[in-house]
Structure formats: structure tokens, C-alpha cells
Subunit: 322 residues, 2 copies
Amino acid sequence: MEFDLIDLIRRHTAQSRDDVRMGIGDDAAVLAVPPGQELAVAIDTLVEGVHFPPGTAPADIGWKALAVNLSDLAAMGASPAWALLALTLPSPDPVFIEGFAEGFAQLAQPYRLALIGGDTTRGPMTISMAVHGFVAPGKALLRAGACVGDAVLVTGTLGDAAAGLQLLQRGGPVDESDARYRFLAERLNRPTPRLASGMALRERATSCIDVSDGLLADLGHICAASDVAAEIESVLLPRSPALLSLFDETTARDFALSGGDDYELCFTVPMARVAEVQADLARLGCGATRIGRIVEGSGVRVRDVDGQWLESTRQGWDHFAA
Amino acid sequence: MEFDLIDLIRRHTAQSRDDVRMGIGDDAAVLAVPPGQELAVAIDTLVEGVHFPPGTAPADIGWKALAVNLSDLAAMGASPAWALLALTLPSPDPVFIEGFAEGFAQLAQPYRLALIGGDTTRGPMTISMAVHGFVAPGKALLRAGACVGDAVLVTGTLGDAAAGLQLLQRGGPVDESDARYRFLAERLNRPTPRLASGMALRERATSCIDVSDGLLADLGHICAASDVAAEIESVLLPRSPALLSLFDETTARDFALSGGDDYELCFTVPMARVAEVQADLARLGCGATRIGRIVEGSGVRVRDVDGQWLESTRQGWDHFAA
């Protein structure tokens, strides 16, 4: 079923780019990387029932499949260019494909991102996407590079996607006409890759990662790659009004620390540049909040509102049993 | 489970390449396309039970997942460089991964192809791979370009993979110590992407495609893209001794015409260059056989041994009911 479905998606998502010499329709795409640019490449898979609940709208799946990949490019400071799609479906369902292509195109079009190739196969629903972007040589943002004394910042707000997922799974009691519910569901289903912020951080952030697995896990990757530790103040964690009004303080804190799927950027900058970076990211719409600092050592520590260090428990985060 | 499994695969398949600025271990890989080269990119998915039978050896799956992708690069005349892997498995099975990585590496190493990124997720077994290769600007082999009067050639032999699949599915009676059986099973499980042949065909073939869906379907794509027709002589179809000794003439012919998964190249060259191209491809080991010619019109016609035209039937190919 390769040809029809990919062609259907292509018609929804057509983008003409001079750097695409041959797009969909031959054995491979042929592409020209602009002179003086390097290529940033990432691949991510969404599996139904694992990465999105059964019943998720096809347009949300199309958006999210692209968004989680573009978030990887954002974390590198790369500008997006091309995508490849490997779509496995139980049956060739044109209604699903129409919706999927529509959601994909809504996110792709503002970036002039072109779908350059794909493969559709029959099987349990699985969506793999690979994205390609450009970055000047040596300018990519890496996980390694955080220095002792740097500030730790995050874009946007944290914990919303985890809250949205819990509301969805809880089912019944939530009122879908409630704007707070719609906001959290949108944060789960339609994450915004922070591409403009990532590009603005080039040559300013000393390290960067996107928050896909949860703040503590992802900041932990920065610390491991940079051979440093981080101290976070839970009182500084940016959280949305919707999250804070629908969940108690402890739950909201734990979602912000450990919830995945927010796709915000977590990054480090020298203390002297914090104000300048915050001003620029505020102009880009998402803002950035300072949540802690880089220190010597390893791992990530969290100080709670009362000044006590938190430790991980099965349910979430708790004060050290002293 | 992303980090451990991809790291395990990476250790099996480590290739140091100067053009990989950042490989596995950050949010995206960072790559440098050599100056003056364009990028050829393809993606393909294998699903258990659809593209390989349950019970296929993990090393064969690792080989084939890469081979079907490299075959797309071969059909473009590109030289391979990098691969991305999206691996979905029901559980993180180290024995499967070890075998998969071993088969992948056996095919990757001679080409110094580097695994530059990946994503492992939990779900029904699905393997998507994206490969990247280089080709000089304007030199990629395309499906469009076949001219009236050109000869149609194929590398290697046709129908072996379909025969191997039928023997596997038939089960019982086949003697696995029989070298003919082993040959056909190997053609199914360990196809050889014709990369050297593809590169040798640059600036000589007027069109090219790899035979993944069957000769008639894939040559049909050349004809559609080139706005021409093709006439094939069934007596000229290259078939292996194993195929001819285990199946009757009609079945062997039908496998060669319609069987998929052979991953040979089908291409067109001006008649005056046939001998030169055949001599070069013979030196590369796989050889090339002239099987027909390009004529005006549309579609692919097949003339049987007795001079009569064949038509498609539900069972295979038959003489026109005149």
C-alpha cells in the first residue's frame, strides 16, 4: 500500500523547497544541504497504547509524531528542513490518513518542512519519523558543556502533559468544556517544539536537552554528559495555572519534576547571561525560568519549598527520612 | 529502554567516520555531507509476519532491515554512509538485540556505514530504518529517463526469494542439508544490495529501480515515470540453478516475473552500451542480463518462450485466451 498513502500524505503536506532535488516518488529522496551547514538528524517512534492512548484523534497523532522529532532538533539549535515517515497501520484507513496528514501539515507548514519520503506497511499502529535540520559547523547545542556556576533554565511550564494524561485516564468526572482541561489535553496531544528558542540559544547556552522523559531524568543526562551536578529549587518550577488549580501542590510539583512529554527545553547558561537570554525567550513567546544551578559532583538534587532535600519514592518525591 | 539497547547495538556496529560530528548519545546526530555531494535518503519498515516469517533468525532480520534500505541507495547509484534505527520490540530482549546487531554489522562493516542514531520502543515487533548516502549533484539514477530503443537489464537472478519463501512456508518435505534450499533461503533472508553495480551505472543507465515488489511491478514504475512501455522475453529471464531444479518452468517463470524481495537492480541502457555495462557488472560479481527493450506506449508486456504474449491471471501468468 506504499504508493497511495504516502501520496495522499504528500498532497496534504506539499512544500516546495529548492534543496529537495527529488522528493517522494523514486527509490530515495535526493537532497542538497546548504553550503557551510551541517545536518542534524533524529528519529523517534510513537506506538499506540504506549505513547498515546487508543482513541487519540488522528490529527493529534500526526502533529505529535512530528513535534517530538522537531523537539530533538530544537534541543540541538537546528533549523528544520525535511522529514521521512514510516507509518504502520492495521489497514489502509483513508480517514485516519486524512486526519494524520492534516495534523502533520499544521505543524510542518510554518517551518516549510517538507515530507521527502516514506514507507507505509500493514501491522500494529506504529509511527516512526526521522527529521533533518541544519546547523552551522560546531554550533549545535549539546548535552555536554554545562559548567559549575551556570544557571539551569527551562522554557514554558512543566508537568502539564503528565496532568493531561492523568485527566484522560481518569475519564468520567472532567468537564471537557473546562478551559483548564482543554489546555492540559492540548499540552499532551499537541506539544510545541521550541525551535525558535533553540536557535536563539546557539552560542549562548552551554548545554541543552528537551524534556521528554521528565525534568530530573533529562537534566540528569546533561549532568552526566557534562560531568557536573545540578541543584533545583522546587519553588522555582514554572507551572501553569491550569495545573495548579486542578492538582494539589505536591502532585503538581511531582508532575513538574518527573512527568514526561512536555517537550520544553532545559538548558544551562553562564549566570551573567541569564537576564539577556530570558528577555529574548520572552519575546519568542514561551519565556524561560531559572530553576537552579550547576554545582560540582554528579546527579540532580531538588530542594523543596521548606528548604529540605527531596528523595525519590515510589509515589513521587518526598523529604529525606532523617 | 532507549539508551541501553541502542548503546548495545552501537557497540556492535561502531564505525568511526570523520563525517559524523556527533553520533549516538545526544538529542540528534550532527553530520557533515562532503563538499560537492548531495544526499540520498530512504526509509523502509519490516513488520514481523508481513516482511519476514515469525521465527526468522534475529541476525537475518538485522541484515535484511539494512539490506532493503541499502538497495534503495543502490538503485540511486549512491554510496552509503549513515543509518538510523527505530526498533519496536515486545520486550527488551538482549538475545534478540545481540543477534540483530550482529547481522546488521556484517552488512554494514564492509561499507563503513555508521549507525548514527536510533529509538527503541516497546510494542509489536517493527523495524524502521533510514539510510543516507552520497551522490554527485545531478548524477542520481532515477526511474524517469528510459528511452525508446533502450535495452532492459537486471542484475543477478530473479525469483529466488519468492521460491525461498514458498519452501519455508511449505515446511516439512524440504531437506535443510540441501544446498539448493540453503541458497534460496539465503536469497530471501540475506539479500545483497547491489551497491557497487548501482555506482557503476551512474552516467550510463538511463533509468534504474530495485526489484522489491517483483520485476513487472517495478519495471512498471520505470515505464510510468519515463512515459514508455517495455517488452520482456520470458526466455531471457535470469534464473538460478536452484530455482530451476526445485520448481517447474512455469512456476520459476512466474516467480521471476512477479516474486518480490529479490533486491536486484532493473535498469535501462542505450543498446550501444549494453556490452560494456555487462562486462563491468560481471567484474563486480553479480553480472547483468538483457531481458527486453523499451518501446513506445505504456505498461510492461511479456512474450513467452513460444512467442505468445502472457497475461496476468489469479495464479500467475498465462497465454492470452485468443
